[in-house]
Symmetry: C2
Subunit: 681 residues, 2 copies
């Protein structure tokens, strides 16, 4: 029977008896308690802070007396003088067990701390990145038993941190000798070990203790936009988010036109590769400046992207992705040095991880959505639609997950829309049309007021009203349909037919005038017949893709729908359903997940187990190819009507009653059929 | 009891029963017989050629009837028409077993064929290089079960060649899709897998069957010269050998002066790194041109070099190697892509292997000598001296091996010698001095005649007599000592003292005139007192190093001596001993091994097991540091005399009687003592 003091750790509940004098950090390690330490217990990194609790703890069956821990010591005093310890805190490596004690490990002292996502469906990310910091004391060289400095660093990592099999690039090795001597044989190293690596790699070295952290980038590389999140690899905190337009747009707006560019122009793929890599380098500089962080501290980057962007990022000609059988050069996840992608504006030894592609048309971005939204863990049947220039669609539950992509084109991102623009201050993002007066009211990005409210004019004084963004155009078209300005086939009525002078003639068709500041030299913001056609093409492609998956699953309805995408959080689910972007479902079962692909990238950045997980999931997903499936064309044509020619929308009907005018005077043929063109992007 | 036919393979003697109709290649594989095949039995590579034997074979207990193999078939006929098969040969993948048969596998059909070295101590190298060719048939892509082309290539390598875990660089991946389609899904790949790799790497791909071979370079990167052997990785044949001066000489002749250059000039190490890498790139182009081989077929390079060259090649500042404790940045062997060393004039995915360093002063070149000469496998105690600007010295037998290096300086390579030059046509390489007349006769490189023979004048018509190379200066100094022109202390006598007018005054000292063509505007070739001093410094350093190892081994004599080095094969062992370069030993126990370091590099190039072997051996070698050992200085001073001040040379005395003049008239102090300077090179 032991008489050693009992140590109980919270929140884990792990407990054990330890001889008096055992440091708390040692006890924690022996019990497998998740207590951080970079310096290995040398009292200099402060990562192992703990809070002892005193008094009676019936739950743990223990009473903690005043002297349960050793006295505050000189090391703690020095640290407190220099940096300040929070009240009640102790350094786990200095405080030793003297009697029974209850020790709380605060979240910031846990290695595998959890970061709760802000999104509605809150899900915690457990921090377990591929690259971490270790402080080591390295043996000095001995002429009589000669070994290399690298070999002695390896031994230190093995003995002090149980890290076996370490290697280092030449560029790191050239920093090794000066750093060891400057740090007087004490250094901090950043060590990268991916989930498939048998060997760990030293990616950075600093003399002494490095306290400026380590960072990673999660990048959603879209056809139209590139979005990055700069993330603290210790805390998981997003320090900055930034984005820019994909400069490849100048080679073609959608993916197929970029593939064509490569086919028609020898070396065109190289040109596009160079362009996107330069843009990413610029983005890295911008985002690290924004966060006030030295870009050399960025040691990891995770990419998610569609297959064409995947190939162009990697410097692979995407030509095979332009034609059946849409063969990828490689479909597996990739882990490679950033410098091989010419991404040189961060740490020169930064590592890149790219999620696996699902198929020739279904990319790593879709894999990232699957990682973020986890359809395979859903009990009810969930349809996940990631809206972008190319839509990624997932349908599944615990029994099976299907995936496809659908070429919606950039209309949903405000491109190919006459008054369209990127989501930026001045852009109309919400709109309502009075069903009686047919008058619009709207809100713009940058103002909390509706256009008919006091304060609106003041808000827009600097930005003006400049155009309509992606979510705005969806609302505008849906509102026009609800207000009877647009018939089921997608035709805009004339002023006579609709009873409002806002329906203005434009050539042989009509447009709806939302805002006209042309008298003051400002823009004239309208929704044109052409805009409607572009939206119809996009939404039909989206719907047809979803239907194809439902056919494969042999269902006519789904239990719930998740709208994702760069602007997924901003889409009004009701308006999306009026438009017929998504199948009929109870509105309270339709939710927005924001940029699920970007979230998936961030998960893979922060947790290497998630990388193994998504690689496994991707292998199990059933891939559905839309491009050569004749039924896709049928679904596409039927989906051209707003909301749909044949599919009933009973759930929608309970919320919205759609008028049923017909503006077809024979002047314009039925839209969509026959005009369909194959497009990726 | 089986009634299947018996197949006996020679020379292995492996045998087994196989059903009629079994291809010989299949039988060989099942028995583990070493029969090559690149195409995997498809009848197109011809690597599996075998020779059936007919008649009675009492030794094998078998009689082979005429129809023991299947008839010559159409595939063999086509191959024979196109390329020609040697008489009696069959293709092992086409000929099938029909009855008991004896099959001979000719050497060129063995994968692990043996290459016998030309050197005296013939030792076979078993071919087992890290990079080999494989022909594979890859499955075509299927849209309904999408996988990447790389993943299908991986599967083909796994299923057809049992090669697991394959990866490829981006630059290879960009060639993958076109090659697969051009080859109609049949390709040849070069796959590299080092002895420590868990993953194999596809380094090159060709549509269809690649028949132009694969090559590797073994490079001995010395302080003064860089020597390369271009080797066929299938046959082991050396296709070309070439060398050039190390351009770093302009930064310093010996290693310590290069280290100083780096210390005194910021960025000086980078300059030297750039210079040597450029020179190696030039050498690659030269040697592949010389062999008439596409440099892109060079997929591997093995380097051996001393520690300072090792660091400069790798781009590591050698500054730590200039001062105790002589810490290497890394001592282990290295395997890395050639492009990381900017060696771009060969295959862009070529791999480099660098042998391990033994200590801060004892490099990978010494490891290569150990690999080539195997002192640890010697029953008798062998001293191996690798003569260069820096000498590598090994002493050992099966019980223990010791190693050190000694800074001889470049005198033995003809540098720092007044009439010295590189070993090239026109250089005096052999010399004899008549002990009575004191007249010299000599031979030059490029002529088979001695200078007093008919035909000599004709031979030298184009080259002239230009100087003395390394082996020539050793002979000249030793001959001068034998002829009584030089006393034990190293002083050259005057014409009066020696009785020959060839001893000419030069300042306050004398020089020996070997050849004077100054009347015709040619050179005046002499051995000056300064030359003698340079040789004395060099040979004393060599001898002192050897003695230090003998002290450590607690012996006064060794059983045998091996002289190695770029000109090791050319050194007269007798003259080396008269000079006191090496300890006394029976002359028939002193042999020359030629460029043992270069041979070690070639062994490591051709056989990956040799890499594991030398890494193990290096760990077991006892390193002796000469730089800080006070006894080294004592040995050095004592070794200044020719052959030695105190050590007896009884074995030498039996062959040569040295006269014992003394030319010291007080005009010159004893040479050597007090003049010693620390030098590495």
């Amino acid at each position: 029977m032991t008489t050693d003091p009992l140590v109980v750790f919270t929140p884990s509940g792990k407990r054990g008896h330890f001889p008096a004098g055992t440091p708390i950090l040692t006890a924690a390690r022996q019990l497998g308690v998740d207590l951080d330490s970079v310096c290995g217990g040398r009292g200099i990194c402060s990562k192992c802070q703990i809070t002892p609790s005193y008094g009676e703890f019936p739950k743990h069956g223990v009473t903690v007396a005043e002297g349960a821990l050793s006295e505050w010591n000189a090391v703690e005093q020095r640290y407190d003088d220099k940096r300040g310890l929070k009240p009640g805190r102790r350094l786990g490596c200095q405080a030793t067990v003297q009697g029974d004690v209850v020790i709380d490990v605060p979240p910031e002292s846990q290695v595998h701390r959890q970061v709760v996502r802000k999104a509605a469906a809150a899900r915690a990310i457990t921090m377990d990145p591929a690259t971490r910091l270790f402080f080591v004391v390295v043996e000095e060289p001995d002429m009589h038993s000669p070994t290399g400095d690298l070999e002695r660093l390896e031994r230190a990592l093995r003995e002090q941190w149980n890290i076996d099999a370490v290697t280092a690039d030449l560029s790191l090795m050239s920093k090794l000798q000066p750093a060891l001597r400057k740090g007087k044989w004490e250094v901090t190293v950043a060590v990268h070990k991916g989930h498939k690596d048998t060997v760990a790699r030293v990616v950075e070295i600093w003399p002494g203790l490095h306290e400026s952290g380590l960072y990673g980038l999660a990048i959603d590389l879209g056809s139209t936009t590139i979005a990055a999140h700069l993330t603290d690899l210790e805390t998981g905190e997003v320090k900055a988010s930034s984005g820019l337009m994909n400069p490849q747009i100048r080679f073609g707006e959608d993916l197929m036109s970029r593939v064509s560019y490569s086919m028609m122009n020898p070396g065109g793929d190289k040109e596009m590769t160079r362009a996107v890599r330069e843009a990413i380098n610029d983005l890295i500089t911008t985002i690290s400046d924004e966060a006030g962080i030295d870009a050399a501290l960025i040691v990891e980057t995770v990419f998610v992207c569609n297959p064409v962007m995947h190939h162009l990022l990697l410097g692979l000609d995407p030509v095979e992705l332009g034609q059946a059988p849409f063969a990828l050069a490689t479909s597996e996840s990739m882990s490679l040095p950033a410098r091989e992608l010419d991404l040189t504006n961060m740490n020169p030894r930064a590592q890149v991880y790219i999620l696996p592609c699902i198929a020739g048309h279904v990319g790593a971005d879709c894999a990232a959505v699957a990682l973020s939204e986890e359809p395979g863990k859903s009990e009810d049947l969930v349809l996940i639609v990631d809206v972008g220039t190319n839509a990624e669609i997932l349908l599944g539950n615990t029994t099976r997950v299907l995936a496809c992509s659908s070429p919606t084109g950039p209309a949903f991102e405000g491109a190919q829309i006459s008054s369209g623009q990127r989501a930026a201050p001045g852009a109309i993002e919400r709109i309502e049309i009075d069903p009686v007066t047919k008058e619009p009211r709207f809100r713009i990005i940058g103002s909390d007021h509706w256009s008919d409210e006091d304060g609106f004019d003041k808000d827009i004084a600097t930005t003006g009203i400049t155009g309509i963004c992606g979510s705005g155009i969806i609302e505008a078209v849906a509102e026009m349909r609800i207000a009877g300005l647009l018939d089921e086939s997608g035709l805009i009525g004339s002023a006579e037919q609709t009873g409002t002078i806002r329906c203005v003639p434009e050539g042989r068709t009509h447009a709806y005038m939302i805002h006209d500041s042309s008298a003051e030299g400002g823009p004239r913001i309208t929704v044109t017949q052409g805009d409607i056609r572009a939206i119809q093409l996009a939404k039909s492609a989206l719907y047809a893709g979803a239907r194809l998956l439902m056919d494969e699953m042999e269902v006519d309805t789904v239990d719930r729908i998740v709208l994702a995408g760069a602007f997924g959080a901003h889409i009004s689910t009701k308006h999306a359903m009026v438009l017929g972007m998504i199948p009929d479902a109870p509105l309270d079962k339709v939710s927005s997940a924001g940029n699920a692909a970007g979230t998936g990238a961030r998960i893979a950045l922060c947790n290497i187990a998630a990388r193994s997980e998504i690689e496994r999931v991707v292998r199990e997903i059933t891939k559905v190819e839309t491009a050569i499936e004749p039924k896709f064309q049928d679904h596409f044509v039927a989906a051209n009507a707003i909301p749909h020619k044949t599919d009933p929308f009973p759930e929608l009907s309970q919320v919205v009653t759609l008028p049923n005018p017909s503006f077809n005077t024979g002047g314009e043929s039925q839209a969509g059929s026959g005009r369909r063109r194959r497009r990726r992007g």
